[in-house]
């Protein structure tokens, strides 16, 4: 049952995603991509409980590595997107 419920969420999210992103003009495709890429670093919240949890050593270290990689993606991604967007000043 959980699987069905999760698939339901997935389906709705995909529709929302398509509707939102179809309207983005070509001018903003690079920032969109790098911003979306930063969002994909959301795996960090999955990694957190693995890194801080009371599981096997392996899980802890894998979780820690995952937190590290995802943080690079998130922090770097948002910063560089902001740097790009700052250049698209409104005139």
């Amino acid at each position: 049952m959980t699987a069905i419920y999760l698939l339901f969420i997935l389906m709705l999210a995909i529709f929302v995603g398509f509707e939102l992103i179809r309207k983005v003009p070509a001018t903003l495709h690079t920032p969109l991509m790098s911003g979306a890429n930063a969002i994909s670093g959301i795996t960090v919240i999955g990694a957190l409980s693995l890194a801080g949890g009371e599981q096997s050593q392996w899980s802890t270290w894998l979780g820690a590595a995952s937190v590290l990689f995802a943080t690079i993606n998130v922090v770097g991604g948002y910063l560089v997107t902001d740097r790009m967007l700052a250049m698209f000043k409104s005139r």
């Binding site: 995909i14 994909s40 959301i42 993606n73």
Partner: protein, 456 residues
Amino acid sequence: MSDFSLLINAVYVVSATLFIFGLKLLSHPSTARKGNLLSALAMFFAVVVTLLDKQIISFEIILLSVLIGSAIGVFAAKKVEMTSMPELVSLFNGVGGLSSLAVAYAAIVGEVQLSTFVLIVSFLALLIGAVTFSGSVIAWAKLSERMIGRPIVFKGQVVANVLLIAAIVTSGYLVVTQPEITTWHYLAIGLALVMGIMVVLPIGGADMPVVISLLNSYSGLAACAAGFALQNNLLIVAGALVGASGIILTNIMCKAMNRSLVNVLTSGFQAVVSSDMKIEGEIKALSAEDAFYVLEAAQSVLVIPGYGMAVAQAQHTMKELQELLEDNGAEVSYAIHPVAGRMPGHMNVLLAEADVSYEQLFEMDEVNPRIENYDVAIVIGANDVVNPAAREMKGSPIYGMPVINADLAKNVFVLKRGMATGFAGVDNPLFFKQNTRMIFGDAKETLGNLVRQFAD
């Protein structure tokens, strides 16, 4: 549900909403920065509230990882040149994939007994994460010219790929049915990494915008699959948003090249079609001094930038020239092909960096109907996206690809270092047209030369 997990999930809902609003605001240049900030805020909330999870008992490792990760991220984001943006995005994509790979693997080796469903989605997250990682690294190497950009093909590649896919499916079956045997895990990860390399190797540099947006989509899908494995709604929603954005951009890029995704992914395997049609005429070179006289008399100028402009870092000099032309009474517009550069929208960012107003940037479809009205079209380091062979030469590899019809402008100046072909490796009949003049040399120097002439 305990109080904590209720709170955590409630905040996840808020985060998901903020992600959606953030992406919505990204659809206009004036609100885009706010949108990005909103999205970052959503991520921050999600991370902070996740730390309240009572399963999390040790914070030292987390803190250390976050600190190191942030430092690397800040350093990379501050240091990168705007011209190297495609490489950086590619690398970030790669670490995103690696992160999903690690999460999925940690879920599989965790001590809890897993259901078959969770094992299957964990394996999918592992697979997509690994393909994203190794594929992105290859894309990065190609973009930064650490390896050759041309398609790399070898004999029996198709057979090798089919065998590889069969092996991956087998390893997936073994991981799901015997999750306790670690050999299968390593086998699956290894095969998936090889798969990522095999996917990107045969793709040439001109198709890189497609590859980057496809890998971007994969990094979202990997996060999404990891969300299924951990039964985390926010991961599913955010991953799906990223996956959708990547797929839409991939589709736009493919349309801009009049090709299908399958066609792009397998382009390296196709034999180069030789055309019977001869390109006739002679190449007429022009000095910057003579070009100046034409530009001085021009009423309307269309600039068509390509990757060559990025390489020469000529965008700032072009902006200077633009201002001088405008002072001289000419109207200056920029025409941007969807696949100009090495990632979607790459030219727009470079021109924004040089402070060119986005109201002056036009897409191919807006420019083409009125291209005859332009007195001069200046092609800066673009090749394939202005190649009339796409219209005229049946049998040309780029036949049918929509291009900016630069050759129909009254005069065409092509700024180019030499007579080399573009990334598609096709001859360009534009250079031989009656109204075309080649101005050889580094684009930045040529433009600087023109600027000086105007200033005198």
